[in-house]
């Protein structure tokens, strides 16, 4: 059985994702699709709209056959670390290819850009430093440095997060000496960060979330942009948990966490840079909401995403020493769900998996998974009081989702 891997967040699963799945399967001529999906906290430093279990169901009902969790230590990270973790999981699960969506849809554009960057390493890095010295953020400096150097249309636009991710997937495959073949398929309309609807059936997850939060009675106008299972699962989630998750659900915890601590303590948190801790503490004293807090903290120097990730690490109490010990590549495959075809694949191939397969949390004792458990507990505190404990327990009691 030939498996193609996809690296996803599905926050929530929409028509663009369905298109990507179909195109990936065709491009790879694959029998099964394996998704590595972020858990409850995402790359942009946000809680997922609904829990990983509901997002797993969305995936399985829409064409994915196996879902593995991208552990917290890779999921809430910059592109390079994110890609390294995700690729190592697909590799361990014996995928023959990984397929990502891109504007160009042409894998040679990525190799060309990688080669160009390799050949121009020194001037590129010099440019980056120059731009950083002007006070802009790292991602901005990278994109400006590249534009200055490679002023041609045959190279990728590094201002687009999807291109950065694609490049990092390929670099991860190379560095890990993986046999996985990188593939790309063209994306349909809708920019990654688009906040508004522009097409008739395809919209970005960002714009879908925005529509959902603007109208919390479940009767949002997102129906045309998401497949039926997503629509139904979002409805079920709201009915059961009474909320969708967003940063504001966690603001009181973040504020408490900042106010009951000391700057010395805060400096231990992963991604905390010298001086930033005092900025966060001062803002926590003044702000009455997460949005207000972020506006007070934000500077040109740090991207919104970078700051949000830092805030997630504060919430999950993730210290530098724990993260720095654990980066690199994944050390387990946490199975979140499977279809019957996915199960068949597992039965045929698991003996060749290069990492332990975790279906039941209680029978896996590796310390590295504790961070995922902690993140999941913290995520559970975003639902109303009477539902918290049920959700906290789910992390240990929920078997992998199975869809026939």
């Amino acid at each position: 059985m030939n498996a193609v891997g996809v690296i996803v967040e599905y926050n929530p699963f929409h028509n663009g994702h369905a298109f990507h799945l179909k195109a990936s399967k065709e491009a790879a001529n694959a029998d099964v699709v394996i998704a590595v999906m972020s858990g409850n906290f995402l790359q942009r430093g946000e809680p997922a709209l609904v829990s990983k279990w509901y997002r797993t169901k969305m995936a399985l009902l829409n064409g994915v056959d196996l879902v593995f969790e991208l552990p917290y230590r890779f999921a809430v990270q910059k592109a390079e670390t994110f890609a390294n973790g995700a690729v190592s999981i697909l590799d361990a699960a014996c995928c023959e290819s990984v397929c990502f969506g891109s504007e160009s849809g042409n894998i040679s554009d990525f190799y060309q850009t990688i080669n160009f960057l390799r050949e121009h390493k020194q001037p590129f890095e010099g440019n980056i430093h120059q731009f950083i010295d002007t006070g802009v953020s790292y991602p901005k400096a990278v994109s400006l440095a590249f534009k200055q150097l490679a002023n041609s249309e045959k190279y990728l636009d590094l201002a687009k997060p999807n291109n950065i991710l694609g490049l990092e997937y390929i670099k991860a495959v190379n560095e890990q000496k993986s046999r996985i073949q990188p593939l790309t398929v063209p994306r349909k309309n809708a920019d990654y960060h688009d906040e508004h609807f522009s097409s008739e059936t395809i919209a970005s997850a960002t714009s879908i979330r925005k529509a959902i939060f603007s109208k919390l009675d479940g009767k949002t106008e997102i129906d045309q942009y998401v497949p039926e299972p997503t629509k139904q699962l979002l409805k079920d989630y709201l009915h059961h948990y009474l909320v969708f998750h967003q940063w504001e659900n966690y603001w009181s915890y973040l504020q408490f966490r900042l106010l009951h601590t000391t700057p010395d303590d805060l400096r231990e948190i992963y991604e905390m840079e010298e001086g930033l801790e005092n900025r966060l503490l001062a803002a926590a004293l003044e702000a009455a909401s997460f949005q207000e807090f972020m506006r007070k903290v934000k500077t040109k120097r740090y991207t919104w995403t970078r700051l949000q990730r830092l805030c997630v690490h504060i919430l999950t109490n993730t210290p530098k020493k724990e993260m720095n010990n654990q980066l690199g590549t994944a050390s387990y495959l946490r199975l979140l769900g499977m279809t019957s075809k996915g199960r068949e694949y597992l039965n045929k191939n698991k003996k060749n998996f290069s990492l332990p397969l975790v279906s039941k949390l209680s029978s896996f004792k590796d310390n590295e998974i504790l961070l995922d458990v902690r993140a999941s507990r913290v995520y559970s505190l975003g639902v109303p009081n009477q539902l918290k404990n049920e959700m906290i327990k789910q992390e240990f009691t929920q078997p992998p989702i199975y869809i026939k």
Copy 2:
């Protein structure tokens, strides 16, 4: 001007307190009354019903002339540490006497008991250890050990918290070689922990709080037990802050704090004993309220009070190393409020105060006060969202209360 000191919590100020003040002033033949009052968290490990500022007003409108804050590091502590801190403050503020209420109302009963304990130190301590080995709590073991040894009515009943406190005040005066004279006046009815009303005008603070929380519309039947200013100030507080403070207001923070941490981290908290951290973590996963949490954690070995104090230290993130560095006696006099007579006393005597007088937090840079600031911030998180920031700021902006 002759000053008598009283050591109080006023949670809230009631008729029994008014009686104690009047009797203390007479017994000491004093011109002014100086109160050392616990801040926002109290000896039994609970948030105060209303903030220290409102309780200061209650004190000043009912006969106290000067209110100093008993710092957190003494306030949320067992009797010995509590007494040491409080006495050191009264001593630094040049009080000539300290007067506490007791059942016996006779200071010689206290000296007799102290002498008896000194003479029977070894068998007493032996007895305590024997009782602890049967699995009971330390306070219970102390009271049983003493009863076994001194089976006579001429000694105090060490099962009564008020007697323990009285003894510790006298021991603190002796150990600090203070010139303060200890005095006691008889208490009127109402036991310290009484949960029910038994007299027509005197009720314990515990029963008053119970009545308040059983009926949150402000129309409680406590009017006959509290002076008019208390009644009015409680009404004002509820009107302004919409809540009275109790542990349940902080449960979600405590649960979050426990769930986002590791056992190793928790072991750093002051008063955490080996093994207790795992018990707390397990209970936090299951409990849906603070009361339920406490019932799961409670054993014969630990008193409810002891466990609640530990929970306050977790909330305020107070590590062993910070507390152990700072015990002993007070290092500043934080002025919370004064009457005009209190101000006169200050002007005449402050040059003789043996500790720095802090009227404005922003002009005092001693690190030791940071724990009080942290405690006050955490306390502020017990009010509704829209009022938190106002209350957080008050700690720095509020000048001492002044009542003409």
